[in-house]
């Protein structure tokens, strides 16, 4: 096939797909009785155009079938109506046309049968199925919606998650031909900017040639202009890579209708945010995962009409497919108002981390007739999750039993560039995709359970680790109060401590190449403005590991706990479980007996009932009775009035310290400066006196 012919073929294919999308949407509307007044005219025009294009390119099978469709529609047009029983064969005809146009295997006999069904003459000789001899076989992405990511697309996308412009272009080319249709306005913007850049170059040349020192200031201004132009050019070029979300949603209503019919369910699909722009490579790879998620929603999420009535819901279920920009990301959601996942599963998710972790676990599936009530979601979600993560995106699942399920895919706007937060640890500069960074905090203390460190953040504990440990890199000890970034991916979070946050940057992602394939845990690397190379952390990998608490838990010198052979007994009063257990482990490791209480009331009760306490370590802010009131109560007691008391608090104002001392505390430690040495020394001083 000659080059121009191949080009026309690509253009024809794009246009045919567009027109077929529009046809099946219109047919569905007619079927549901909400067809527009000119619906049949528009169907006729679409069929006619496809027939004409196919005829010019000598694609006889397509032209023949389109002709039959056109005849049916012409008949309907003159009689001002389309018989309802014709909608289904017409829909099947659009499917067949799509298969033929995309050069996918099609059954010639079925097509001949379809033509007869539509009232046409069967073709004299059945043409071979592969009517289009495209130079390369096209992977089937759009029109076999019920199978997950086609093998070829999956291989291309998952093995090469990253994303240099070249790689992305190649992937794009492999998905659909070599032609790319870009709206003229986008090209106009690009051309305008190129024109401006040429002028900018001429002005620069003039300034340099003049050699006039007075030009120096102008030169600096002109360089600023250059910066702005480059930024705008970059944006405009990226714009040519993007397509509206609506460009892939065309076949979905049809797919939902078929699945719903098969399942005996009534479902409305509402598509929102069709104008949201996404990278075309991401978009093309998204089609099948989305159909899969929609299918899951209808097959497993939505109840049968009877069940819905019993549950007090309308019999027609709603599935909402939406896309919206959120900062530098696009959130694509599939939400249904079905049965949701079971309460047991939600409880399991709370124990194990998140719903995503359970439902997208490889092999997790909901069996037909499952009696355990797990029915909800999950079939093949692991593949969808992997696919999304290969683009540097993430997946999130929310569900409420009886109310519905919402799956959110957070995707980058473009593959070529990545917004990262650059952080420094030792001599390493590491980029973390901004999409996965929730916040940065200063770490004043960490907690520990079974040797794993954790960080308390607004009442929840988050696994905590040194970025150097995650990298497996040598690095000097962390500074005091090191910054930590909270990274979220795959429904998990991890806090990673580093030396310094450098700032945000937009970087070009480069593959590490075949010789460093074994280096796992990175999306790739980027060359920074100063020429240094930064590794780009893969958030999914970072959150999957449990950082070992390597440095902070070793007690190097333990002050003597046992002064005269009898270990002292300490009462730790603290409402936070994690902090309480941390203090217990530190003090027990130093040889003390430790009793605990959750607040002042419990502490006083303990002193009254059990006695035998040699020293009290108490927090200030606690429910029921705070630490200062407890201190005053102890001091007021005749029995334990002289008991040593250490107040440990996050309050650090002089006023609070004064209040602590006034209440009668012997020592006052601020959590920010809290370290186990100071605590152990203070305790040793007081019980050893």
């Amino acid at each position: 096939m000659s080059q121009p012919e191949a080009e026309f073929l690509g253009i024809f294919r794009d246009e045919a797909n567009e027109r077929l999308d529009s046809m099946s949407a219109t047919l569905l509307a007619i079927e549901e009785g909400r067809g527009a007044a000119d619906a049949i005219d528009s169907l006729f025009r679409d069929a006619h155009t496809i027939k004409g294009g196919a005829g010019m390119l000598g694609l006889e099978a397509i032209a023949g079938l389109a002709h039959s469709v056109e005849d049916v529609l012409a008949e309907a047009r003159t009689h001002a109506g389309l018989a309802p029983e014709l909608v289904d064969p017409l829909l099947r005809a659009t499917d067949a046309l799509r298969q033929l146009a995309n050069d996918e295997p099609a059954d010639p006999e079925a097509i001949a049968g379809l033509i007869v069904e539509l009232g046409g003459e069967p073709p004299a000789e059945t043409p071979p199925s592969g009517d289009l001899e495209a130079p390369e076989p096209q992977p089937a992405v759009d029109s076999q919606p019920l199978r997950l990511v086609s093998e070829r697309a999956a291989a291309a996308d998952i093995e090469a998650p990253v994303v240099e412009r070249r790689a992305a272009d190649a992937a794009s080319a492999s998905v659909r031909g070599r032609t790319v249709r870009v709206p003229a306005e986008k090209l106009d913007v690009l051309l305008d900017l190129v024109g401006e850049t040429v002028l900018h170059r001429q002005r620069l040349g003039h300034m340099v040639a003049s050699g006039d020192p007075a030009q120096r200031e102008l030169l600096a201004d002109e360089l600023d202009v250059g910066d702005r132009l480059l930024g705008a050019l970059q944006d405009a070029a990226i714009q040519t890579r993007t397509l509206p979300f609506g460009s892939i949603t065309g076949p979905f209503p049809r797919a939902i209708r078929d699945i719903a019919n098969t399942e005996g369910k009534e479902v409305d699909l509402i598509v929102e945010g069709t104008e949201t722009e996404l990278d075309r490579v991401i978009l093309e790879g998204l089609s099948e995962p989305l159909v899969h998620m929609l299918r899951n929603a209808v097959a497993h999420g939505i109840e049968l009409p009877g069940e819905r009535l019993d549950a007090g819901k309308p019999t027609r279920a709603r599935v909402v497919l939406g896309a919206e920009q959120r900062g530098g990301l696009v959130a694509v959601t599939v939400a249904d108002d079905g049965r949701g996942v079971s309460a047991e599963l939600i409880a399991q998710a709370a124990r194990e981390g998140s719903l995503v972790e359970i439902l997208a676990r490889p092999g997790f599936s909901t069996h037909a007739g499952d009696v355990s009530g797990l029915a909800g979601r999950g079939v093949g979600l692991d593949v969808v999750k992997l696919h999304v993560e290969s683009f540097g995106g993430s997946m999130q699942i929310d569900s409420e039993p009886g109310t519905g399920t919402c799956i959110t895919l957070l995707l980058p706007l473009t593959l070529a560039l990545l917004d990262v937060l650059l952080v420094e640890r030792g001599c390493h500069v590491v980029g973390v995709p901004l999409a996965s960074v929730q916040e940065a905090v200063a770490v004043s203390e960490t907690l520990s359970l079974t040797g794993h460190a954790a960080l308390e953040l607004r009442g929840t504990s988050i696994p905590f680790g040194d970025l150097a440990d995650l990298l497996g890199a040598e690095a000097p000890p962390l500074p005091a109060r090191p910054p930590a970034i909270i990274v979220a991916a795959s429904g998990r979070r991890v806090a990673l401590a580093c030396d310094r946050l450098i700032g945000e940057s937009e970087v070009v992602v480069k593959d590490l190449g075949p010789l460093l394939r074994s280096v796992s845990g990175y999306l790739g690397a980027a060359i920074l403005g100063d020429g240094r190379v930064a590794l780009l952390l893969d958030p999914a990998n970072a959150t999957a590991m449990r950082p070992q608490n390597r440095r902070s838990q070793t007690v190097e010198e333990t002050p003597e706990a046992v002064a005269d052979g009898v270990a002292a007994t300490l009462l730790v009063v603290e409402d936070s479980f994690m902090v309480r257990e941390l203090q217990r482990s530190i003090l027990e490791a130093a040889g003390y007996h430790v009793e605990t209480a959750k607040n002042g009331v419990e502490a006083l009760e303990h002193l009254t009932v059990h006695g035998g306490i040699d020293l009290v370590v108490t927090d200030v802010d606690m429910p029921e009775m705070d630490g200062l009131t407890l201190t005053e109560a102890i001091r007021a007691s005749t029995e334990w009035g002289s008991l040593p008391i250490i107040v440990v608090t996050s309050r650090e104002s002089a006023d609070d310290r004064r209040r602590g001392v006034e209440a009668g505390a012997d020592a006052y430690m601020v959590k920010d400066s809290f370290d186990q040495h100071a605590l152990l020394e203070t305790v040793a001083r007081m019980v050893g006196r």
Binding site: K510, L516, S518
Partner: protein, 135 residues
């Protein structure tokens, strides 16, 4: 094998790389370590806007590693590039036909030059080995 070779010193030993595989010779430059890569990998560096993986030639050849070498030989084979850290580039010259026995699969032959033994590196095997290590 004969032809022009880049001769390098690695520790106390001498090796030669076919010049047609050598793109350039330079300083080792600023490396970014790639924790998790094979033992021989020193990291990646920025070579005029491209990422270049850098390996310690001594470690690749199984020699004891002394201090990190300072010179870099950038080589290419079948479109795949890598930098090799060496202690010194001693010569770029025609190499006589190799006639000495070798027992490393990374060497195609060895030659005696002024009573020093020079191992001729088989670039295909070298890159294949690195790729296998990374698989």
């Amino acid at each position: 094998m004969s032809g022009v070779h880049v001769q390098v010193r690695v520790g106390a030993e001498l090796y030669a790389l076919p010049v047609e595989n050598v793109l350039e010779i330079g300083e080792i430059g600023l490396l970014t370590a790639t924790p998790g890569a094979s033992r021989a990998a020193l990291g990646v560096r920025n070579l005029r806007g491209d990422l270049l993986p850098v390996f310690d030639l001594a470690a690749v050849l199984g020699l004891a590693r002394g201090e990190t070498p300072k010179r870099l030989v950038v080589a290419e084979r079948a479109g795949c590039r890598a930098g090799f850290a060496v202690d010194e580039v001693t010569d770029v010259d025609l190499l006589p036909e190799g006639d000495q026995e070798v027992d490393s699969h990374l060497l195609s032959s060895a030659v005696l030059i002024e009573s020093a033994l020079v191992g001729v590196i088989d670039m295909d095997r070298l890159f294949e080995t690195l790729e296998q290590d990374a698989a």
